[in-house]
């Protein structure tokens, strides 16, 4: 039986992954990169859920992760669809080009 890794390590990892995702969302202009960054942020949350499930010795968090993953898959399908439409309308996948819905 391996010595259990303390839960704080998981939390730091999760925070780091989340911040990378957030950084990507805020700085990247490519919509595909955008989508990947969102995936990172979702998975950061998943890490948290699994870590606490292990910590408390309960399965609820792990079951929740399964839901999040299926949700993420659906989200990717929609996100790809949006990116395709974006490309069709603006001949590019740059998110800063699509600024017609504003004041």
């Amino acid at each position: 039986m391996l010595e259990a890794v303390p839960v704080e390590y998981y939390l730091v990892l999760s925070a780091a992954v989340f911040c990378i995702g957030l950084f990507g969302v805020l700085t990247r202009r490519n919509a595909l990169m955008f989508l990947m960054s969102v995936e990172l942020m979702l998975n950061a949350a998943n890490i948290n859920l699994v870590a606490f499930a292990l910590y408390w010795g309960e399965l609820t968090g792990q079951v929740f992760v399964l839901f999040t993953m299926s949700l993420a898959a659906a989200e990717v399908a929609i996100g790809i669809g949006i990116i395709l439409v974006l490309y069709r309308n603006y001949d590019d996948v740059d998110v800063t080009d699509a600024t017609t819905m504003r004041w």
């Binding site: 969302v25 805020l26 700085t27 202009r29 800063t96 699509a98 600024t99 017609t100 504003r102 004041w103």
Partner: protein, 673 residues
């Protein structure tokens, strides 16, 4: 045996209403463009009214609620109903008789002359008759108000019949607006009556006049005023409508202009419908007016003043119908004077005889106008009696009645008005002043009436048209003859002076109106109220017979004097325009005492300027505050919406910043640091 007529009483007003609908919808295809439908309908109304009058004479009365359109438990209900007592039964006969004769006359005046818009004309006449008849038998003040307004609407429609000319169109508007000005006060009065007494019924112990008397007896107070003062306020408010409709000073200015309408309409307006409505309203709620001596004094004084004031203007008019218009104003002044003096019977008596002889005079004038190819200037006439005997004789009968010459109808009624005012005036100085003005008006009335007759029918023809006038038909002559006979004999219904001097029971109208039918609308009740609340006492000079004789001598003497003066001045074959020698007075009279000018000044100089100032205040201050508030929102919204850049990255950044702000906020608040 006549009481079964009561169940058909609503039909008195419904029949002319049906003729209105027929003429309106199918007038173009009806025989005579709707005239026959109108004649049949008003003829039917006349027969039913006579039946109702017979029933009332034989001792029955009828009060019935026909329709309740607001049924309230706590406050008051609004209803339509009919009240058939002595006053309304007699008035129904007068109105339907005049309406019937006017419809017949219109055949000769409108149809035979090929006037345009006949279906519209007969529709208007039908609605006019229907509204007036419904107004007359109304059993509550609200219903009376509704039909009072309908009468005003119909006058607008009919005065403006030839609306393509600017003058009739503007006269119709003026009649509508001036009477409406008075009606505003009436409307407020109706609301005040309903709110104060919870009922607007005229008759019975639970009618508002009786309730008002109880309130005064109990010393109640309403809205901080004593019951007496509040009754006076309501009385004055309703009087506003009366003064507008009955063309009393200062709201008389619409009536002479209303001569722009077709002459049969003038006859209807002046004799039986529109103008009579005002005086009738006071008589209808007379039990209420008698509770307030202040209002009675005002009514009497306005009446006496108007009688003289209008008569003086009639002296200088050159158009036949203008003279008659001012005589109408003046004669309604007499009725108001009688009402103000507490003499219900005299007022209604004069209303009756005036309806007959004024309808006669207007229809006679209509015949003259047809004969003269629609010229109204009396100076273009002259000598017409040679060519139109029937018109001349009947017109003369009407004129002598108007002038108050014995034994024509007008003499008896005017004498009774003057006598009743005199005996009250001997104790009340204000009424004596009103009496003296009315007495002076007798002279002036006789003068302008005889002047009118002489200029129109006597002397030599002054134009070619007057030499060979257009012949008038039977439909014109027949109504004239009926009214002419009545103008001679109608005084016989109430020979009060004869009764007072000889003791014969010949004052039929007095005993009819005086008999108690349990509705508290009979004259005996009014006499009690007059003594108890108005505090009127009657005096006599030496003794009653002497006073009667003196009154007759004064009234009749002045009438004869006026007639003789006019005869001496205008009897020549080619009369001179004597009135122009009056100089500046003539100018004043021709301009109607500048009443129109001053009312226009009130409207344009005063009201318009006040309205402009109010508009400036509204636009500047009220709207300014609203606009300032909204401009703050507009400006800030315009700035803040620029946050919406459309760049999704910016939104993400804002979400993150918001999250951070929340975290920091919770952290500080939750005490993590």
């Amino acid at each position: 045996m006549f009481a079964w007529f009561f169940q058909f009483a609503p039909a008195i007003a419904v029949l002319p209403f049906v003729s209105f609908l027929l003429a309106l919808v199918a007038g173009r295809w009806l025989p005579r463009k709707g005239a026959l439908a109108g004649i049949l309908a008003t003829g039917g109304s006349l027969l039913l009214s006579l039946g109702v009058l017979a029933a009332v004479v034989s001792g029955h009365t009828h009060e019935q609620t026909l329709y309740t359109f607001v049924d309230a438990q706590e406050t008051f209900s609004l209803t339509f109903g009919i009240l058939l007592d002595q006053l309304s039964a007699a008035m129904l006969v007068i109105v339907s008789l005049i309406a019937f004769l006017v419809h017949v006359f219109s055949l000769g005046y409108m149809n035979a002359e090929g006037e345009p818009g006949l279906p519209r004309y007969y529709a208007g006449l039908g609605l006019f008759s229907a509204s007036m008849l419904a107004f007359v038998f109304a059993d509550n003040l609200l219903m009376a108000f509704v039909f009072f307004e309908l009468v005003g609407l119909c006058s607008w429609l009919l005065i403006g019949h030839w609306f393509r000319d600017p003058a009739p169109a503007s006269a119709a508007k003026k009649a509508f607006l001036v009477t409406r000005f008075g009606d505003y006060f009436f409307l407020v009065g109706v609301v005040a009556v309903l709110v104060t007494f919870g009922t607007a019924q005229f008759a019975g112990a639970d009618g508002f006049p009786a309730l008002a008397a109880e309130a005064i007896d109990a010393g109640e107070s309403f809205f901080g005023l004593s019951a007496e003062a509040w009754v006076s306020v309501i009385g004055l408010l309703v009087l506003g409508g009366v003064i507008g409709k009955s063309a009393q000073f200062p709201l008389h200015t619409w009536l002479p202009d209303a001569m722009q309408g077709p002459t049969p309409v003038s006859a209807l307006i002046h004799a039986a419908t529109m103008v009579a409505a005002g005086v009738y309203l006071v008589a209808r709620m007379y039990g209420f007016y008698l509770l307030s001596p202040t209002v009675l004094g005002i009514i009497a004084f306005v009446g006496g003043f108007t009688a003289l004031f209008a008569a003086t203007m009639g002296v200088v008019k050159n158009e036949l119908k203008q003279v008659l218009a001012y005589s109408t104003i003046s004669q309604y002044g007499y009725m108001m004077l009688a009402l103000g003096a507490g003499s219900y019977v005299a007022a209604f008596f004069h209303l009756t005889t005036h309806a007959i002889f004024k309808a006669l005079l207007f229809l006679g004038a209509g015949a003259v106008i047809v004969a003269m190819h629609h010229d109204e200037d009396m100076w273009l006439m002259g000598g017409l009696r040679e060519h139109m005997r029937v018109t001349y004789l009947t017109f003369l009968a009407g004129s002598l009645a108007l002038a108050g010459i014995f034994p024509f109808a007008g003499f008896w009624s005017k004498d009774e008005v003057l006598f009743d005012t005199l005996v009250v005036g001997l104790e009340q100085p204000l009424l004596l002043v009103a009496y003296l003005m009315a007495l002076a008006a007798v002279f002036v009335t006789a003068f302008y009436t005889i002047r009118m007759v002489l200029l129109t029918f006597h002397g030599d023809p002054r134009t070619d048209v007057a030499e060979s006038p257009h012949a008038v038909g039977l439909s014109i002559k027949a109504p004239l003859v009926v009214l002419g006979v009545l103008a001679v004999v109608a005084g016989a219904i109430n020979l009060v002076p004869v009764e007072k001097l000889t003791g014969l029971r010949v004052s039929f109208l007095s005993s009819f109106l005086g008999s108690d039918r349990g509705l508290l609308t009979h004259n005996a009740h009014y006499v009690d109220l007059r003594t108890e609340y108005a505090g009127y006492e009657t005096g006599a000079i030496v003794s009653e017979p002497v006073t009667v004789l003196l009154g007759v001598a004064l009234g009749f003497g002045l009438a004869i004097a006026g007639a003789v003066a006019a005869f001496l001045l205008y009897r020549d074959a080619d009369p001179v325009r004597h009135t122009e020698r009056l100089g500046s007075i003539h100018t004043l009279l021709v301009h109607n005492y500048y009443q129109d000018e001053y009312q226009v000044w009130l409207a344009e100089g005063l009201s318009l300027r006040t309205a402009r100032a109010a508009d400036t205040f509204d636009q500047g201050v009220i709207d300014g505050a609203v606009n300032a508030t909204s401009s703050v929102s507009l400006l800030s919204g315009d700035r803040i919406r620029r946050v919406q850049t459309g760049v999704v990255t910016n939104y993400a950044a804002l979400v993150v910043l918001g999250l951070l702000a929340l975290l920091v906020g919770f952290a500080l608040y939750g005490g993590w640091f």
